[in-house]
Subunit: 443 residues, 2 copies
């Protein structure tokens, strides 16, 4: 199925003028950069992070780009591979629902590696993240659910195109060179959903980032690919999907960044339970009841989540992340759901949590969107509280900032969180190499 | 569409005992190794070779593996990427019709790079080529024509699995580690046919080789992928093809290598005209007529080739490679069709060649297989000669050796050809590092 407008759409994005970028879009990119640094630091010690970092560190090479938690520098392709895997290791990085995936983990490592290699400013890296991620989102929409359902992982596949756009910007490619890079990455982009639940999932983000760096670097050297490897005959889209949504992706008014709808995970558990956590917390803030006073909780959610995160009696920390019952008990008891460390096997045996857990009923409701939840709490005193929350509603910047900084403190400690926040807050005075220094220090 | 037997089939191949390999299979692998060295040397100066080699040379890194025409050594992943692209640059490397692609260009660079890094023997590299290529051929058959017709390039996609099997052998992986490597490369394997006619086609062989090295190296470090990324649900096969031919691939008796049906190009032009060239040469040898005495030539060929290589009046050297009329004139005039250098624009203007070219008629005939051709020559003296040739018939070893050595002499000069032949003839006394020394000297 052809998508002939997509290549030009991506090329137009790659050339999007810096001065026309809306402040609101750039502010959101800044939140994503901060959040990426936090989750990369928190995931730096994961087994997949260690394995991929060790591989590229042993290979070595010209020291131009930094890797999270590695003292020395490496070539840009290698750094992008490792940083992509590391930043997606916890699956706690940003998500874009229309893209069907995680844009920043695939795009930012490419922008950072080439930014550092070319001694760009941190502001240029930020813009490359924004524009590259926008490219990922747009082609992710073109590929759509049918691509995902066929078995492909947009984070990896669409992500490779976004990483290429970001890389092309960092290398200052001409429009023609960028066209070659995009047509070339089409033959390199890959990534399957069957890797979910294994180290292959975070690795998918790394391969997207590395593929983007490679394609742009080869195009800069004069590599000639086919005319339109993206949307042309037997191009990437034609081969990888039977139905395309090109109009949906490209009918957005010029200058509007769908990136602004990106969602940052504020809890270290399945995204499917986040709306319920927010609604419960809001209810508790507004009505000031404690966990012991709760008689019952009913959670209404989109039925698709019942197959994903409705474990009634979780026994392990990992299972707790996929349990409405458990996160409800945790939230009402004030356990910090933002901290990855609290989801333990021991937690699942806590009698006080089990007491609340047992009062929770989960109901599927087609009328609720898959980003929403409605909770009803009945207290022992006979009070009934109904609160709804929808993740698709954009948070006020102050609320998001507060949430992200609390998450950061929970994940990496208050001191480190504050330092990373200051870095991002002072971005206009920073260089890409300053960011590289920070990456190497994230240990 | 699931193919659950394929992973085990590949694992059994990876473990195939060295002592059970048939001499005839190993002899064919030796021809492929020789031919690979020749076409890699001949393609070393092509633009795609220069661009990819320059990229990895600039990245540098731990010097463990050699690249064709590069003085220094590089990491194995990088060497495999470059050598794959270089050896497929002229599209003159070996072909397996059932695999639908070029096995050695994707597999041998992986085996060579890791063999050199691990200081293996040249014989071990040869066996890894044979077994890895056999793996490529089998999964190529599983994917079949529907995969190719959808837009995928088996050289790259199936080739990545073969390169992984070869790499697993060179690294001495356990069966479980090899399973992890194959499930992992499933998320990395890629390659599109839309790159044909551009530098992307040879690059596809390089990415397959590099992907194989990477997957095996990560598995050796403990990388855990999914249970069956190859033939399981939403595995590589499920996502990339709608119809599979698993029985065809795996009902071959144990110990039989389909690799023995590999074909070596003996002429520097489209494979579609090769059978006609062989038939014409055979007719001329048997009946000893010269080009001037030919009144007319009729070539019967499978109709699929009429859309591929039936240019009536080629104007450029490249077009001549896709012209029955022109290669007929060249063959009858004794022009060395094995030499890439003879296909020039000037050649297309040669009046004597044009005189013969104009007498040629090409006829599509469904009764002729796509590896066959039947030619009829009528001489001015009224004689009629009919000769058929089918490339699928295995050549006697002596005939193949003679053809490959003549091709080598035409491509790289008699002296270099002889040296490479002696290297391969003395393989049992050589190490992988000796082969690496030869690669670096191919300039």
């Amino acid at each position: 199925m052809l998508a002939p407008r997509t290549l030009n759409g991506l090329l137009d994005l790659a050339e999007f003028p810096t001065e026309s970028i809306l402040d609101s879009a750039r502010a959101m990119a800044k939140f994503s950069l901060f959040d990426w640094l936090v989750v990369a630091r928190a995931g730096a010690g994961e087994p997949v992070s260690r394995i991929v970092r060790d591989l590229v560190a042993e290979e070595g090479g010209k020291p131009v780009a930094s890797v999270v938690g590695l003292a020395g520098k490496l070539p840009a392709r290698a750094a992008a591979l490792a940083n992509g895997a590391i930043s997606h290791a916890l699956d706690y990085d940003d998500t874009h629902f229309a893209h069907v995936g995680h844009p920043s983990a695939a795009v930012l490592p490419a922008a950072l590696a080439l930014g550092e290699a070319r001694d760009a400013s941190a502001a240029q890296v930020l813009d490359a993240l924004l524009i590259g991620a926008e490219a990922s989102i747009r082609i992710g929409i073109v590929l759509g659910r049918p691509h995902y359902e066929r078995g492909f992982h947009q984070t990896a596949t669409a992500g490779a195109f976004g990483a290429t756009v970001a890389s092309a910007r960092m290398l200052g490619l001409t429009r023609e060179e960028t066209r070659q890079a995009l047509s070339l990455v089409a033959t390199r982009a890959s990534g399957l959903k069957s890797q979910f639940g294994s180290m292959g999932k975070p690795f998918n983000a790394g391969i997207a980032a590395s593929n983007g760096v490679e394609a742009a670097a080869l195009a800069a050297r004069g590599f000639v690919s086919c005319d339109d490897g993206v949307g042309g005959p037997q191009g990437f889209i034609d081969a990888h999907v039977d139905e395309v949504f090109e109009d949906t992706a490209w009918s957005v008014p010029r200058g509007v960044f769908l990136f602004e709808d990106i969602k940052h995970k504020l809890h270290a558990c399945c995204h499917g339970v986040h709306a319920a956590i927010e609604a419960l917390a809001e209810a508790q803030r507004a009505h000031r009841f404690d966990a012991e006073s709760v008689a019952s909780v009913t959670i209404r959610t989109n039925p698709r989540w019942l197959k994903v995160c409705d474990l009634k009696r979780p026994r392990t920390g990992l299972e707790a992340k996929f349990s409405y019952n458990m996160v409800t008990a945790m939230t009402l008891h004030g356990v910090d759901t933002a901290s990855d460390a609290v989801y333990t096997d021991a937690l699942c045996q806590n009698p006080e949590l089990i007491a609340v857990r047992s009062t929770v009923t989960v109901v599927g409701d087609e009328a609720i969107s898959d980003t929403g939840a409605v909770v009803r709490i009945e207290t022992r005193a006979g009070e009934t509280v109904d609160v709804g929350h929808d993740l698709s509603v954009r948070l006020p910047a102050e609320t998001l900032e507060k949430g992200l900084r609390a998450k950061a403190a929970a994940l990496v400690g208050a001191g480190s969180a504050e330092k990373l926040w200051e870095t991002v807050a002072s971005l206009p005075t920073r260089s890409a190499r300053d960011l590289g220094d920070i990456l190497r220090g994230l240990r």
